[in-house]
């Protein structure tokens, strides 16, 4: 449009200039006639007319110039607007796939391995989308391989534990058979059989613990929490432990705050944890030591603490105390029957209950292991409790 306008303007301009040149020529001729005295009145009129005509022509052409300029400007604006529209169209056709890409990347990062984008639109965004999908495919493949490895490991531990149980049943069973007839055995033989039985029990514990850990790793260590009374649970555990602590002349006391709220836990699992903590306190403390179990309400949680006045745990060991196969001082573990897995399992179980476990110790003074569990009214969740960080102290 602007081009046509400009072309027409140039043509008109040429015409005007020709007309002005002709008019000037006519006026000049008229003035020459006047000067030579030949033209008379007619020549004067012609000269004046041509002069006026050129003035008119000039006005006309300047108006026309303005129109054309406006026309050109309008054309330019229209062109620019068109280009802008085209460009914004381009941008919006890029924006949608990019937004989709951002969203899919977010899903992928959030653990949704099936997140993919639709490939389409401009070739640049299509290439980007295809690259993203390829990367997501690769991630999914790796993750499923990892899952498969985890399953294999879990299966292996399960099978190994299963296969070991049958021979263990025979060893333990026949040793028990010997003990049924202990009167006909010499004291030395009785001691020997007792050692066999002790080690059988240790193997069973180890198998059970390994299985618990494998399940925990596979996310298959399940709990079925229910509203549970704290006091009977602790009293039951203390009763179970009494024979062992008394055999070492240790003093076992309990101190349970009255009117504790119910806790939302699986009682057998909490019993398992408390037995583990009390067994540790018993085995790592010398004869005659004091061991205490305390329970109190803290906010909307119940805290159960097992305290002993044993040798304590050096700080360098304390920070690794909840890790697997980490056990107390080697000098002591000679006579301690643990598997080194008890606290690691306890920590997993407590966190599964939405609680936290923590250890504090002063060498030479004693140790305290405390667990916090959600009281009813607060639902237990898989997420670690607010004090989880304390556990790795």
């Amino acid at each position: 449009m602007a081009v046509i306008g400009v072309g027409r303007f140039i043509q008109q301009r040429q015409d005007f200039e020709d007309a002005i040149a002709r008019s000037y020529q006519v006026e000049m001729q008229a003035r020459e006639q006047l000067a030579s005295g030949a033209g008379g009145k007619g020549a004067r009129a012609t000269a004046i007319r041509e002069d006026e005509r050129r003035t008119g022509l000039r006005e006309e052409i300047s108006a026309d110039t303005r129109d054309t300029a406006l026309l050109v400007a309008a054309g330019l604006i229209a062109g620019l607007t068109g280009a802008l529209l085209l460009f914004s169209g381009l941008i919006s056709s890029m924006r949608r796939p990019l937004e989709e890409l951002v969203e899919a990347a977010g899903q992928l990062a959030g653990g949704d391995r099936s997140a993919r984008v639709q490939i389409g639109g401009l070739s640049e965004t299509a290439t980007l989308g295809a690259a993203f999908n390829e990367m997501a495919d690769e991630l999914e493949r790796e993750a499923s391989q990892r899952d498969q490895l985890d399953r294999l490991k879990d299966e292996f531990v399960l099978t190994a534990s299963h296969e070991l149980r049958s021979p263990l049943t025979s060893v333990q069973g026949f040793a028990e058979l010997l003990m049924l007839d202990r009167d006909s055995l010499t004291p030395k033989q009785v001691e020997t059989v007792e050692i066999i039985l002790d080690n059988c029990r240790h193997l069973v514990r180890l198998l059970n613990d390994l299985l618990d850990l494998a399940r925990s790793d596979a996310g298959r260590l399940g709990i079925t929490p229910q509203p549970t009374e704290v006091a009977p649970l602790i009293e039951d555990v203390v009763r179970t432990m009494r024979a062992q602590t008394e055999s070492a002349s240790q003093i076992l006391t309990q101190q349970i705050e009255p009117d504790l709220p119910l806790i939302y836990v699986e009682p057998d699992r909490i019993r398992q944890i408390l037995v583990n903590l009390l067994t540790n306190a018993h085995e790592y403390s010398p004869e005659g030591a004091s061991i205490g179990v305390m329970a109190r309400a803290v906010g909307d949680e119940v805290e159960i603490a097992v305290t002993d006045n044993g040798p304590g745990i050096p700080e360098s060991q304390l920070e690794h105390i909840f890790e697997r196969f980490v056990r107390g001082d080697a000098g002591l573990t000679q006579r301690v029957g643990g598997t080194g897995l008890g606290l690691a399992i306890s920590k997993s179980l407590i966190e599964l209950h939405g609680g936290a476990i923590a250890a504090a110790s002063t060498p030479g003074v004693g140790s305290t292991f405390s667990i916090r569990l959600p009281a009813t009214g607060r639902a237990a969740s898989a997420a670690p409790g607010p004090n989880a960080a304390e556990a790795s102290r």
Binding site: E163, S166, P167, S170, Q172, G173, L177, L180
Partner: protein
Amino acid sequence: MTRVLVADDSETILLLMRTRLEMAGYEVDTAADGQEVVDRWHHDDPAQLPDILLLDAMMPRKSGLDALRELREMGVETPVLIVSAHQDATDANAPSELEVSGYLNKPIDFDDLLERVVQLTSDRV
């Protein structure tokens, strides 16, 4: 005399079970797999059939649970204890229509086993 049929694929475990149960005054018969258990009902004199079954959950040829299913389908109502090598015997949980009377873990706690056998066989008298 109360008859106990024990099925396990391990001969040592069968020997152990036989010894403990005979010491407790039971008449003990053994089977190496589930098929042998089912065969008792096909071939034996009904008077010789056991009063209680102790079945290992996992056995070659025919598992304890498969044998039990067949027996229940035949209308056999003999009480059954399932012995499992799983840490948690209820992992081998049988459907309720198989009417399992109880589960025992390996290693076997014989005091527990004998107590349950007494209870299940005296119920029937």
